[in-house]
Assembly symmetry: C2
Homo-oligomer: 250 residues x 2
C-alpha cells in the first residue's frame, strides 16, 4: 500500500477528481448553459433533477444518524434545514419547485417523480444507499462535489438567464444561496475527511467516494442526453408534446 498522503496532497487529489469528473464537463451541462437546449430539454432537466434535490435531506439524515459527535451533528443538520426550510414553501426543495413551476410543469407530477427517467431514480436510490451503507467517512466524502459547485452554479445561472427568455432571476432563486451554503458545507466536510482518513486505504476510499458521486451526477446527464437528444426516453417518462412541437419548429 502506498504511503499516507499529506493533508495538502489529499486535498489536491480530491480537487483533481472534480477537475476530471465533475459534471461541469458533461456535454448536456454545456449545452444547457450555452442556450442550446430546447424548452423540452430544459423541462426534462428540471423535472429529473428535482428527484436529486429532493433526496438530499434523506441522504443527509442517513449521515446524521451515524454521527456520534453532537458537534458534528450540529454542523450537518444545517444541510437538512437549508433544503427543507423552516416552514412550508421555504428551503432549497421549495425553490427548486419554483423553477419547475416557472417552466410550466405541474407540481404534483414533478413531486411524484412518475415522469422522471428510470435512470434518474436509480442514481438517486444508489446515492441514498451509498450514504446509508458505506462507512461514514465515505458518505461524507461523497458530499465534496460541493467543492466544485459554486463556480458551476454561476456559469449555469448566467447562461440560462442570457439564453432562455422564459427563465428569470426568480426562476433560479434556488441557486442564490447555494454558493455560500456549499462553501460552508464543503469546508467542514473537507476538514472532516482530512482529519478522519487516517490510513492510505481510507484516503483512497474517500477519493473513490467522490468519484462515485461525480459518476452519479454525470450519469443523470447521460440519461437526459440519451433520452432527449440522441434517442427517446423510457416510454412512460416525460414527453412534452408542446415542447416537442417547439423543438421541431426551431
Amino acid at each position: 500500500m502506498p504511503e499516507l498522503l499529506s493533508p495538502a496532497d489529499l486535498e489536491a487529489r480530491l480537487r483533481d477528481v472534480g477537475a476530471r469528473r465533475y459534471h461541469s464537463l458533461h456535454p448536456f451541462q454545456i449545452r444547457l448553459q450555452s442556450g442550446q437546449c430546447s424548452r423540452t430539454q430544459v423541462e426534462a432537466w428540471a423535472l429529473n433533477r428535482y428527484l436529486y434535490q429532493a433526496c438530499i435531506p434523506q441522504k443527509d439524515a442517513h449521515i446524521l444518524a451515524r454521527m456520534e459527535s453532537a458537534a458534528d451533528r450540529r454542523e450537518w443538520r444545517q444541510r437538512i434545514i437549508d433544503h427543507d426550510g423552516e416552514h412550508e414553501g421555504e428551503g432549497g426543495i421549495a425553490k427548486w419547485l419554483k423553477l419547475t413551476d416557472d417552466l410550466g410543469l405541474d407540481r404534483e407530477t414533478v413531486v411524484s417523480g412518475r415522469l422522471a427517467l428510470p435512470a434518474t431514480k436509480f442514481a438517486v436510490t444508489s446515492y441514498i444507499s451509498f450514504c446509508r451503507d458505506r462507512p461514514l467517512l465515505e458518505a461524507i466524502a461523497s458530499s465534496l462535489t460541493e467543492l466544485f459547485s459554486p463556480s458551476v452554479i454561476k456559469v449555469r445561472a448566467e447562461g440560462m438567464l442570457a439564453h432562455y427568455d422564459y427563465v428569470t432571476p426568480e426562476t433560479l432563486a434556488y441557486f442564490n444561496k447555494r454558493p455560500v451554503q456549499a462553501k460552508r458545507d464543503s469546508d467542514f466536510a473537507l476538514a472532516y475527511v482530512i482529519e478522519h482518513a487516517k490510513t492510505r486505504e481510507a484516503q483512497d476510499a474517500a477519493i473513490a467516494a467522490l468519484e462515485f458521486k461525480c459518476s452519479m451526477l454525470w450519469t443523470m446527464l447521460d440519461a437526459l442526453e440519451h433520452g432527449y437528444i440522441y434517442a427517446k426516453p423510457w416510454p412512460d417518462a416525460f414527453q412534452a408534446e408542446a415542447g416537442a412541437a417547439r423543438q421541431a419548429a426551431e
Copy 2:
C-alpha cells in the same frame, strides 16, 4: 378504487407489461441480435450485464429471507442454486463468465465491475434495494420478467451465433438452461402473485413492480446504447481500444 381483477385479467395485465415494456423491444437488443453490434459493443454488453447476472442470487436471498413459508422457500432457493451452482465453476454466473472469457475479457476485471458503466451499477443497486425494501409481493412480482425471457433468449442466441463468428454455442452455454428454469420459476411466481394480491391496490402494485423491473433492464440497454453507440461512456468505463479500432475499420 377500481374493483379486483380476476386471476385471468391480472395475468393478462402482467403479460401486457412485457408486450409493451420488455427489453426485447429495445433498439440495442435488436441491434445485438441482428449482427449490427461491433465487437466492442458486444463486449461492453457482456461486461455490464455480468453485474446484473451476479446480483441475482443476492436479490433472491433478500426475497428468501422474507418468506415465512418453508414450502415457498424450498421453491425460491432453487434460483440461488441455479445461479451459484453446486461447485466452483458451475451455475449461471460461472456460465456468464464463460461468455466474457470467450470474448477475451479479463475475468478479474469483469468480476470487479470497475469498468462497468455507473448506470449499470445504479440499476443493479436499485434492483437489490427493491427486493429488500418493497413488500414481498412486489419483490416476487418483479421477477416476472421471466415470463417473457424464453422467447427472447432463443432469438438472441440464434442471432448472435449467426452473425458473430467469435460466438460459439459454448460461449452462449448460459442460455441453454435458462428457458426451462425461467418457465419453472415464473410459473411459481405468477401463481404466488395471483394468490397473494388480494386487493386491487396490491394487484396494481404487482403490475407496477413488473414495470419497475422492465425499466431497469431497459435502462441498462439505454446506457450501453448511449455510451457505445451515440456518445461516449463515463471516462473510467470500458473502452476497448482494439474494439474501437475494429469499429472504425468497419
